[in-house]
Structures are given as structure tokens and as C-alpha cells.
């Protein structure tokens, strides 16, 4: 029996002993796509970082790829938000994607033909093969996000985490990212992505986890992305309109 990509039971996560998010019960199998949905400050990033071994699991049992998060460090792929990176940094698109191979190569082992081939294939997959020699910072926000996705792909992770992959991304890039994510999960990679975009969550995810300080619901999009559950999760940020519709207002 293969172990689940992720199994969290009664987990609290946080920093320096202070919990940010409590009561997390999740199980994700190979090839499944999980969307983390919740308002700003809900704990989405903290949860993602806990999987990477970069925030603390304060209680409960956390298991990533069959190990503790600390022991699984380096095994899960990670796609950061583009705007957390220095656009002025003098590095080419190809160099950024090659960083995905650094886990295997370590500090100084030279790149092999297989690494260069993987980088070329990764860029091909996200539709940016013609930009390999461009400087990273000269690309649009959406293209940069695709480059970071290509970087994650070439590491060939069994579990991939994406922090708000659709923020500041144009429609063409969003379409490309969604297509690649579907291909990855079809090939057996488990995906966890945080998003504000409920339409994307409904369309892309097999599982949706609603969080805001604690886990409010987890299940198929049809069961979780309901007015009742969202109202519970977003609390004051959910405003009912007179015609029976509801608006989620971010602070």
C-alpha cells in the first residue's frame, strides 16, 4: 500500500508556539488536487509552510509523503507568489528553472545533460520555451508565475504546493497554469494550492478546504463551496445582498 501524499490529523500550525490555524484534518492521495480557501490571514500560507517544514506543527499528527514534515523537507515542490521575488535580480529564465534541479545537484555538482533537457522540457510544458534566455524580471507577472511552475515541475515532486498561483496573472497564463496542473495530477502528483478565486477552486479542485483560523469544512467543491459554509468561514467578511446573493468582502 502506498502512503498518502499528505495526512494531517487534528493538526495545529503556527509560529514560535503561537497557533495560527487549528483543527486541520486532511488526507490527500496521489494525483488529487486540493484548494485552500479562506480570507487574508486565514492561515493558508502557514499551512503550506507547515507542509514544507517551515512553520511549526504544534499539535496533532502531520505526515508528508510518509514522513514527518521536517524529514520530508526538500521532497515537496513549492511555487511561491511571483511578487515575493526580486524582479530586478539579474537571472535568466533558464537559470530560474534550473533551480528546480538544485535539490538533486546540491551545492556544487555540475549540471548534467539530463538536467538541461528537463529544463527545456519544463519551459516547453508551460509554453515559454522561446523565453529561456530572457531575464526573469522582463517577463509579465503571469509568465513569471509559469516560469516558477516550470521550476517546480523539473524537480519532479510527488507533492506540489502553490501559494496563490493565480494572483496578478493574465487570462492566457491562468489557462496555461490550469492545463499544466491538470497534466501533473493526471501523472500522479498531488497538488495543494491556496486561492481567493472560488471559480478556479470549483473548476480545478477535487477537494476544497475552507479555513479561517480553524478548519471549517473539507470535501468536494459541491459540498464545501456553499453559501452556508462560506458564510461561516468568512464571518463578517460575508455580506448578504437583498436579492439572496452573497458577497465576500476582503478587508
Amino acid at each position: 500500500m502506498t502512503s498518502a501524499a499528505l495526512r494531517y490529523t487534528g493538526v495545529s500550525v503556527g509560529y514560535q508556539g503561537t497557533p495560527v490555524l487549528t483543527g486541520v484534518d486532511l488526507e490527500l492521495q496521489a494525483g488529487q488536487r486540493l484548494a485552500l480557501v479562506g480570507p487574508n490571514g486565514a492561515g493558508k500560507s502557514t499551512l503550506i509552510k507547515s507542509v514544507l517544514g517551515m512553520s511549526q506543527v504544534l499539535s496533532g499528527s502531520a505526515n508528508v509523503l510518509g514522513r514527518s514534515p521536517a524529514a520530508a523537507r526538500g521532497l515537496a515542490g513549492y511555487v511561491p507568489q511571483t511578487d515575493t521575488l526580486d524582479a530586478d535580480f539579474p537571472v535568466s529564465v533558464r537559470q530560474v528553472v534550473m533551480m528546480g534541479r538544485y535539490r538533486q545537484l546540491g551545492w556544487w555538482r555540475p549540471t548534467r545533460p539530463a538536467d538541461r533537457r528537463a529544463v527545456a522540457d519544463g519551459l516547453e510544458q508551460v509554453g515559454l520555451a522561446d523565453r529561456a534566455r530572457h531575464r526573469f524580471g522582463t517577463l509579465s507577472g503571469g509568465q513569471r508565475q509559469r516560469v516558477l511552475l516550470a521550476r517546480a515541475i523539473v524537480a519532479e515532486p510527488r507533492l506540489l504546493l502553490l501559494d496563490e498561483p493565480f494572483n496578478g496573472v493574465d487570462a492566457v497564463s491562468q489557462e496555461a497554469i490550469v492545463r499544466v496542473l491538470r497534466e501533473l495530477s493526471a501523472a500522479g502528483t498531488a497538488l495543494i494550492l491556496s486561492t481567493h478565486d472560488l471559480a478556479v477552486a470549483r473548476d480545478l479542485a477535487d477537494l476544497v478546504c475552507l479555513i479561517n483560523g480553524r478548519q471549517w469544512a473539507v470535501g468536494a467543491p459541491g459540498e464545501t463551496l456553499t453559501a452556508t459554509a462560506l458564510r461561516q468561514t468568512y464571518a463578517h467578511a460575508a455580506v448578504d445582498l437583498a436579492d439572496g446573493r452573497m458577497v465576500l468582502v476582503e478587508p
Partner: protein, 295 residues
């Protein structure tokens, strides 16, 4: 134009600058990219008490060992203090910097030749570089280049994306220590020739100037080294002409740094021109929709 450099002490000064150029070009790229200008400044100041202690204990020969010990110690302390961002980089650095510099001043003020000692420690003695000093600088330069070569990949990854590097299993704390030690070694290599104050220029200006003409790391490193060498030649020549032909005393290390800054200023318009052509695309305002219609 090469005649002054047939005089042995001028040739040794230029050779020393050439060695420093080879290391300062690539190292300054990381100082620039990591925005470590202030940390470099701190290192130059904290090496100061080490220089003084070494000098008091063993004369000029002790300066090297004193600087080395103080530099390595600072590298470790700064790495630990800034770890986990419990103290902001700037505050921690400033505390270490001012404390160590004050200790240096107190120590040097105990000596009778206070003013001349202080001047030579702060501004260096480029024209009295000895053969032995050159050899020591060469050995340090080799160690630094090997350290950079071994660490380049991790350093670049960590500089560009610290969270990504950490997620990929790289130990960011060790990478930071690696760079801080390299910085300390550069300061130790340069401190006797250009002094603790001016060495910071060699760590910051080359890459900052090179960045104005190129967007590639390797080119920045080579160009930065070239700029330091050119500034060394220009500065030494000007100070030679000023003192020999015009009897104006112009400290050579300061002349070298001024030449370097001049190159920086000359390259500024290139950057402005490149920026106007839109070399870097600013990230558009986030599309994160504040209002999400549910149904």
C-alpha cells in the same frame, strides 16, 4: 602612463589592487543582490578592533591575524543575530558595528602614536604594501574564489528566493554564514592596503556600477573586477602625478576609491537609458479581487 609603475612600491600597490579586484568583482555582486551594503559596512568596522589588538600585540605582522579573528567572529555573530529575523538585520548589525568600533578606538587611543595609527588603520597604506603582504592577499584571494565557486549555486538560489531554497532542502542559515565569512575574508584581505573605511567601497560600488550596464550575474562580476582594476590604475596614477609633479599630497587609497565612484557616476546615465527602454517590467497591481460574488 606606465612609467610610475616601474617604481617597485607603485608596482606592488597596483598588484595588490589587481588581487583585490579579482575578489571584489564577484563578491560585490552578492553584496549588491542581497542588499548587504550595511552588513559589509559593519564588517569593516568590526574588523577594526581586531586590527588594533593584532597591532598592539605583534606590530604590523599581527594586523593580519587580528583582522582574521575579528572578521570570522563577526561573521558568526551577525549570522546568528539576524537568524529567524528575531532582531531586524539593521538593528542587530548597528549594535555590533558601533560596539566593536568603539572598542577599537578605545584600544588605539591607549597608544602614544594615536593619530597616525588611527589614520593608517582607517584609510590604509597602499604604497607600503610588502611582498609578504602581496603573498598573503593572493592566498586569501584564492580561498575566497574557491569559496565563491563552491557556494555560488546555493548563494544565488538563496538570494533570489530564500523560501524556495529552504523548501528545496537548502539550509539558509549555513548559506548566510558562508557568505558572511567570505565577506569577512575580503575585508581582511583589503584592510591593510585600503583601510577599514574605504574597503566598503570595494564591496559595494563594483557591482552597483556594473549592474547599470548588464543584467547578467557573470558579466557583472567580471565587469566589476575590471572597474576596480581600472580605478586602481587611475587612482594610483593621479596620486603619483599630484605628489611628484605638483607636490600635492593625495592619499592613494582615497584616490582609488574616488576613481571607482567616478566610474559609477559615469555609468549612471546608461542605467537611466536602459530603464527608459523598460528593462524590468513592474509587477501589475494584484488582481486579487476584494469582492467575490458567491451566487
Amino acid at each position: 602612463m606606465i612609467e610610475p609603475f616601474t617604481v617597485p612600491f607603485m608596482a606592488r600597490a597596483l598588484a595588490e589592487i589587481a588581487l583585490l579586484a579579482v575578489i571584489c568583482g564577484p563578491v560585490s555582486v552578492f553584496v549588491f543582490a542581497r542588499r548587504l551594503a550595511f552588513v559589509s559596512d559593519a564588517l569593516t568596522h568590526t574588523v577594526f578592533p581586531g586590527v588594533v589588538i593584532g597591532f598592539v600585540a605583534a606590530g604590523l605582522e599581527g594586523v593580519f591575524a587580528g583582522a582574521l579573528v575579528a572578521g570570522l567572529l563577526t561573521a558568526v555573530v551577525l549570522t546568528v543575530l539576524t537568524r529567524g529575523a528575531k532582531v531586524s538585520d539593521d538593528a542587530a548589525t548597528a549594535v555590533v558595528l558601533t560596539a566593536m568600533f568603539s572598542i577599537g578606538v578605545v584600544l588605539v587611543s591607549r597608544r602614544s602614536s594615536y593619530t597616525s595609527d588611527l589614520t593608517s588603520f582607517l584609510f590604509g597604506r597602499l604604497l607600503t604594501v610588502t611582498g609578504r603582504q602581496l603573498a598573503e592577499t593572493a592566498v586569501l584571494a584564492l580561498v575566497i574564489l574557491v569559496g565563491l565557486l563552491v557556494g555560488a549555486r546555493a548563494l544565488i538560489f538563496r538570494t533570489f528566493d530564500p523560501v524556495g531554497a529552504s523548501a528545496a532542502g537548502f539550509r539558509v542559515g549555513w548559506i548566510d554564514l558562508w557568505l558572511n565569512v567570505i565577506l569577512a575574508l575580503v575585508v581582511v584581505a583589503a584592510v591593510r592596503a585600503v583601510g577599514t573605511i574605504l574597503v566598503v567601497a570595494l564591496l559595494i560600488v563594483p557591482a552597483a556600477a556594473a549592474r547599470m550596464v548588464t543584467g547578467r550575474l557573470a558579466v557583472m562580476a567580471v565587469l566589476g573586477a575590471g572597474l576596480v582594476l581600472a580605478a586602481g590604475y587611475t587612482g594610483l596614477l593621479v596620486s603619483w602625478i599630484a605628489s611628484v609633479d605638483h607636490q600635492v599630497s593625495l592619499p592613494s587609497a582615497s584616490a582609488v576609491v574616488l576613481a571607482l565612484v567616478l566610474f559609477y557616476l559615469l555609468l549612471l546615465p546608461v542605467r537611466l537609458w536602459r530603464d527608459r527602454r523598460g528593462a524590468t517590467v513592474p509587477i501589475p497591481a494584484q488582481r486579487r479581487s476584494p469582492h467575490e460574488l458567491v451566487r
